[in-house]
Structures are given as C-alpha cells and as structure tokens.
Symmetry: C2
Subunit: 307 residues, 2 copies
C-alpha cells in the first residue's frame, strides 16, 4: 500500500525536494534536498531554468532509491491545475507557461503538477491538523491571505481562483493594494499588521514583532491586532457561510502567534455563527514548511489511482 514519490516544492527563494513514502493516511520523508530557485533574465528564462533544476533534483533523489512511482511538482502564483499551466507568478515572473508538459518532457515518470498553497492545504487536511476530516479550509496568513479548499476529501481549485478570501470586503473601508477597499488582506495580513503598527508608532517592525508586542501589553500593538482579528473573523465567516468546512486550519507566518491568534478568533467567530452555519474546528497548522512537499507527494500518488 506504500507508494514512493519524489516531491518538489518550487518557492520564490528555494526549491525543496524530497523522496516521500506515501501510505494510506501517512507520508514520510525518506531523503530530501534543497537548492536556490534559479533566476533567468526574464520570466520565460526563469521557467526554463526551473524546469531544468526540477529535473536535476528528481534525478538526484532517484539515484539510489529502490523504486519511485511518481513525481509531484508544485509552484507558486496563479496555477491552473486542469490545464497544467503556471498562469502567473509575481515572484518568478512567468506568465502562461505550460509547466506540466515542459516537466513531463524531461521526467520519465508519472507526473502531477499543482499549486504550492493548495498542495500544502491538502497535506494539512489529510496528514496534519485536520486529518480524519473531509471538508477543510486551510488558510495560510502571510504577506497575502488565500485559502486552500479540500471539499469531500478532494482539493478544489476553481480553475486556480477559488478561496481568495484575502479580497473579501469586510467593511473596514481601508484601501487594499488590489484597488478595492475593505479587503481582509488590507487589515489582517502580516504585512498589513506591520504597516498599520508603523503608521501608529513610527517604528519599523515585522508582523511577528507586533505579535510579540501584543504579549507585552503594548496598546498600539493590541489595537492593530484586534483589528486584524476582526477582519479575519469576518472573512472566515464568509468562507464558512459559503463552503461550510468542518475544520479551519490557520497557517503561514501569522500562525506562529498560536493562542494569540486562535483564542480571540474563536471567541469572535462564536459570537457571529448562527443556526444555519456549520461550526468548524479552528486549528493551527502542524506541518510547517514541509506541507508543500508532502502535498506534492500526495498529488503524485493520487494521480496513480486515476489513470
């Protein structure tokens, strides 16, 4: 029942790769490798270099391994899994690159191609904080905020567009980088928290610094944090109303705030949920930065079951 997959998680800075043993409800990294993500003169050149580097990582992890059944590769940005296309990556600069076909031409194993955040969400749902549950929303909170939806046990991507709750208007009225007002992200991303604290105090800090200041009783930090919790709760309420998950998993840099994030968010949500809402568990992500690779391995071995 155990399959072996090579998983590659292409990030903006690093590429993480692993040989993963995937069982029924388990996944274990047997070996791993990491290298900087290569950069070309433009997005197309970067895509060429990334394809080459992925093929080399796969070859490296494959040598010496007993048998490898499949390869899973996940990339950032906007990804259309159905067409196998990297639609857009602000960080890596590519647009509409048929990455799945390009990778398949270089790798002679069954290949799955996906999105880093959604794959990480699938891993949290199957193996991490929400294991055993079928309807799960995984919400990494970092520079931006977008959810991965695992519905009836399967990743749902909506052509790459599903789960964009960072841009739900929750009524606070502040402008967002996207051009709209009131977006969850404009109040609750780690970048927004840092920016809003700086605006109040003149001090240049990170989102994590603000969380630390909340614990020491800094009133500016507490005010900014409260606004972030409120915007997040309103965004989650919308997500719960539409997608009705059994569990919401909070991840990304912000989740390192732990109970400082989960406790007030749960209290705020409890006050808003009505009889027509499913009441989800609220949990912290468990897999950290291995989620992407584990998710890529799950995608790879899932592909084996549906020829």
């Amino acid at each position: 029942m155990t399959a072996h997959a090579i998983a590659v998680d292409v990030g903006g800075t690093d590429m993480k790769a692993a040989l993963v043993a995937v069982g029924r409800d388990t996944a274990r990294q047997l070996r791993h490798a990491r290298r900087p993500t290569p950069r070309g003169s433009d997005g197309a050149a970067t895509a060429d270099l990334v394809v080459e580097a992925v093929a080399e990582l796969v070859s490296e992890l494959r040598s010496g391994a007993d048998s490898v059944d499949a390869v899973g590769v996940v990339v950032p940005g906007v990804v259309d899994e159905a067409r196998g296309v990297g639609v857009f990556s602000a960080n890596l600069g590519w647009r509409d690159v048929p990455l799945r076909d390009r990778l398949a031409a270089r790798i002679d194993l069954p290949l799955a191609f996906g999105h880093d955040v959604r794959a990480g969400g699938l891993a949290e749902a199957r193996l991490g904080a929400a294991r055993g549950m079928r309807d799960v929303v995984v919400l990494p909170i970092g520079t931006g905020i977008a959810a991965a939806l695992v519905l009836d046990g399967r990743l749902y991507s909506g052509g790459g567009f599903a789960g964009e709750i960072g841009h739900i208007d929750v009524g606070h009225g502040e402008p967002c980088g996207c051009g709209s007002n009131g977006c969850v992200e404009a109040m609750a991303s780690s970048a927004a928290v840092a920016r809003r604290y700086r605006a109040r105090t003149g001090r240049d800090v990170s989102g994590a610094d603000v969380a630390a200041a909340v614990r020491t009783g800094d009133p500016d930090a507490q005010a900014v944090w409260q606004d972030a919790i409120d915007a997040l709760a309103r965004g989650l309420l919308v997500l719960i109303t539409v997608a009705a998950p059994e569990c919401v998993v909070l991840g990304g840099g912000f989740a390192q705030a732990g109970d400082l994030l989960v406790d007030p968010l749960r209290a705020r949500l409890d006050g808003m949920l009505a009889a027509y809402h499913r009441r989800p568990h609220l949990k912290l992500a468990e897999l950290g930065d291995t989620a992407g690779c584990l998710g890529a391995a799950l995608l790879a071995t899932e592909g084996l079951k549906t020829p």
Copy 2:
C-alpha cells in the same frame, strides 16, 4: 448506457414523481405522477405519512415499467446527505428524521436520498443551463436565497450547510429575519422586494408584481429592484471569490424576470470583478420545476456507479 430511475421530489405542497431514463448527458421523463404532500398532526407523523406516500408513488410508477434500476428521493429544508437525515423542515415540521433508512425499509431498490434545491442544482449543471461545465453555482431566488454548489462536476453540500449566501452581510444594514443585519436575503429575496415595495407605496403586491411594475417605469419598483440587484451582485461577488464557478445559474421565481434580472446583474458584477476573480457566465435556469425530479434521478443513478 441508459439507466431507469424513479425520482420523487417531496415539496411543501405537492409530491412530484417520475420515471426517468438517464443517459450519459441526458435525462428524459417517461411517466410522471403527482399527489398532495400528506400532513400529520406533527412533524414525526408527517414524516411517517410522507415515507408511505413515497413508497406508494414508487410502486405506482414501477408497475408496468420494464425495469427500474434505482430510486432517488429529495426533500426540502436542512438535509444531511452523508447521514441520510432530514435535519429540519420549517414547512413539513420534521426534525432529525432518518429518512433514508426509513425509505430504504419500504423500497426494495437501490436508494439515493438528497436535498431538493441541491438536486435541482445538479440537474441544471449537468442537463440544463450549465451543461458541459464543471464548476457551477445554481442560485434559486425565492422566499429565501441559497445556492447549490457543483464543484469539479460533483454536488458539494458541506454537511447540508454550504452555499447559504442569503445570509452574507453585504453592508446595506437592514435587519434580516435571521437576527443579523445586511443579509442578501433581507434585500433581494422575492419576499423582501414585495415587502420593501409595500413599505414605500402601501400597495400589497408579490415580487413578480414588482418586476412587472419595473417594466412599466414605476419609480418605486425601480428603486426597490435596483437595491435587490445591488445586494445580489455583492452576494454573488462573495460566492465567486470563494467558490470560483465557471457559471452562475439564476433560478426560482425571480428568474422569471429574465433580462430584467440578468442584464443589470451582469453589468454590476462586471464593474466589481478583478483580475483574481474567475469570470463566470451568468445564465437563467432552464429546467423549471422539473429540476428537482431530474436531479433526484441523477443522484439515484450516480449511486449505481459507486457501490
């Protein structure tokens, strides 16, 4: 490739039943029957009578039919398909009735049990306005507003709670029957449109009457209609942001307003959709009040494929 199913759509007033031939992308009603929904002294008694009446309808449609492969029954209210339970019906009065098991004990054919609106949505997605598309939201607008979600070609119910966009807060601030403020339903249901027109004019009318008055240039009707379109557009924007459908199908009594509904809604949405949104087709439902039965037949024959 053609299967034969008996479908029963239990409504608040009538029970509609049909013998349906289900092909790969088709469903055709061969015979049908209808009778009033029986009522007992309380919800439990009503459930008993409904189970009996469904069994009789099935028996009636089965006699003389060459062969019947399966039965599909759909009911209104809150339905948990996974557990096979009618959780709640305001109209029929039952609470937590294990209808699937009760029906299965009376009917010696493979049985599927579901929710009337979601089953109708599945029919519109597979056979009606959105045929050929995989990610579809079907939104009947009547006394209430709740969406059926067909994602990756499969009905998603979220334990019976998914798609409750009638109770998304879109910021208009008016109170809703649910106890919150600003709900889509409080401005855009046919009941809300009738109530708000009455409040302005003192005239007692239906939602359909208001639509007719919009066409004749009645300024009160136009104002009320414009508010409804705006609330609907904001609710749809949320749905699109989270669920990213390829197609939104508008149904229910309100959809009879046709272009009066679709054209301004499309224009309003066009002004709000951003690069991170999937742009869905906006269509009117095609199957009318046969959608529930056709959907029940689809559920019944789908059950045959997954033993």
